[in-house]
Symmetry: C2
Subunit: 104 residues, 2 copies
DNA sequence: AGTTTGTACAACCAAATGGTTGCTTTATTT
DNA sequence: AAATAAAGCAACCATTTGGTTGTACAAACT
């Protein structure tokens, strides 16, 4: 097993997806994020660390607070990958047609 | 930890993403999929099982073969989630504007 | 100054993950 | 009928994951 810490793995956890959507509504510190989640503060802190490591969340210290902000750009990799897969899938029959043409 | 077996988790593994893209080019049996991957047949079989459980891959028995085919529909959930997050993010300032209007 | 608040650090834990090897079963060739 | 090819089953393993609790520390109120 290789060390994987990419966007795909980051959004594979439902709690992290909820954190992302919560932060989409605006920046918050750790204490603010914890609200509404039934897990400990340390658990959230670990999730935030993971999200930060792959660039989905930026952390700005402000006094004793850690202000977390979501960064949408890295999510491009995900939607691009899905789009690419769909494109490849859509080209199946084009290639079949080309093959049949070559056989003539 | 709850048993999570959804599309997000399915595509979180790079090997599984490669399998999906390989199958996007056309259906294949297990033996066909194994080629080019540096892992054992059983490892691939496990990945296929996971992909099948969340609907991304369908399996059709054909003699002694198991023909695997990719199903693109479940991937909608992923691109939809990304799109939704972007929408929420885009609405931040609208709500700020509304707040300022209300203050007048 | 003392208390409260926001967070960091560390150790620990059970379960999940991704992988392996060995053996069996079922079709298909030869 | 014998050999081969495709896949299934089961046990095992190290690492990762998602979570916990306890302690410590610095910033901000009272």
């Amino acid at each position: 097993m290789i060390q994987r810490r990419d966007v795909f793995q980051a959004i594979s956890d439902p709690t992290r997806r909820m954190i992302i959507q919560k932060l989409s509504r605006g920046p918050q510190n750790l204490a603010g994020i914890i609200e509404d989640f039934g897990v400990s503060r340390q658990a959230i802190a670990k999730h935030i660390k993971i999200l930060n490591e792959c660039g989905v969340v930026s952390i700005t210290p402000k006094g004793r607070e850690q202000v977390c902000e979501v960064r949408m750009a890295p999510l491009d990799e995900v939607s691009n990958w899905v789009a690419e897969s769909r494109t490849i899938w859509g080209q199946r029959f084009q290639q079949l047609g080309k093959f049949l043409d070559d056989e003539k």
